[in-house]
């Protein structure tokens, strides 16, 4: 049950955050343009954007929880 919640919850979070198919980002680049010279600069804003590694970790966690549930389940009397 916990494993299913973890999988569904992490997929929902990943999708809501933009379904990033790359690596997880902890900051996001924003372009800034100097109006006088026309040169483009970059600033970084702190923002967590989960990527496929985040999903992988969630699936791994769910797998461990599922395995643990078989090991520690209460046996019917």
């Amino acid at each position: 049950m916990a494993a299913a919640i973890l999988v569904v919850g992490s997929i929902a979070f990943w999708a809501a955050a933009g379904a990033n198919r790359g690596w997880t980002k902890t900051s996001v680049p924003r372009k800034i343009v100097d109006q006088v010279t026309g040169i483009e600069g970059v600033t970084y804003e702190k923002q967590f954007v989960p990527g496929v590694d985040f999903l992988g970790a969630a699936f791994l966690g769910a797998g461990i929880l599922t395995g643990a549930s078989f090991l520690f389940r209460t046996r019917p009397r």
């Binding site: 198919r21 790359g22 690596w23 997880t24 980002k25 902890t26 900051s27 996001v28 680049p29 800034i32 100097d34 006088v36 010279t37 026309g38 040169i39 483009e40 600069g41 970059v42 600033t43 970084y44 954007v49 496929v52």
Partner: protein
Amino acid sequence: MKTRLITLVLLALAGAVFAAPQTFDFKDPKGINNAGFKLDAPLESINGSASGVSGTVTFDSENPGATTGKIVVATASLMVPNSMQRGHMLSDKWLDAAKFPEISFESKEFKNVKTDGDNTTADVTGTFTLKGISKELTVPVKLTYMKDKLGDRVPGQKGDLLVIRANFSIKRGDFNINPGQFEDKVSDTIELTLSIAGASPK
């Protein structure tokens, strides 16, 4: 009185004919100057930039081919969107930012200089230093001289601007950055872009 006047006129003419080269400082008070880098990788390319740009360039608008200078990028200012990836990049296993705090390019010679108005293109040969290793590189650059435009960029200051743009690539293996290793994960080729503006206050 007449002699003094003639002397002043002659001095003014000499000044106009032999316009002195100007020194432009590339430490940007607006923090827009940046060096970008890109490496191909299987899942997505690694894109980043560095904002810690400094250095000086001596430029003569009458003779752009005589330009000399050195641009320095602080290694610790290199940024990528993933903090763990950035930590690896700056660690002793990759760039070793603590031991090699600067990446630099010092020009030696300008070739194929073409000037059209305020724009000059050229192939600049110079010494590129990364991770303590110096190699001679030839880099295509574009210089744009912007006379009396410093005040538009930095209110209250008078002077000129010089914009430098360059795109070139290097091999990380040439600079002892894990040569021949992890090339299936991070490409050997690093594409670099430079977009910087320098100021010469009057």
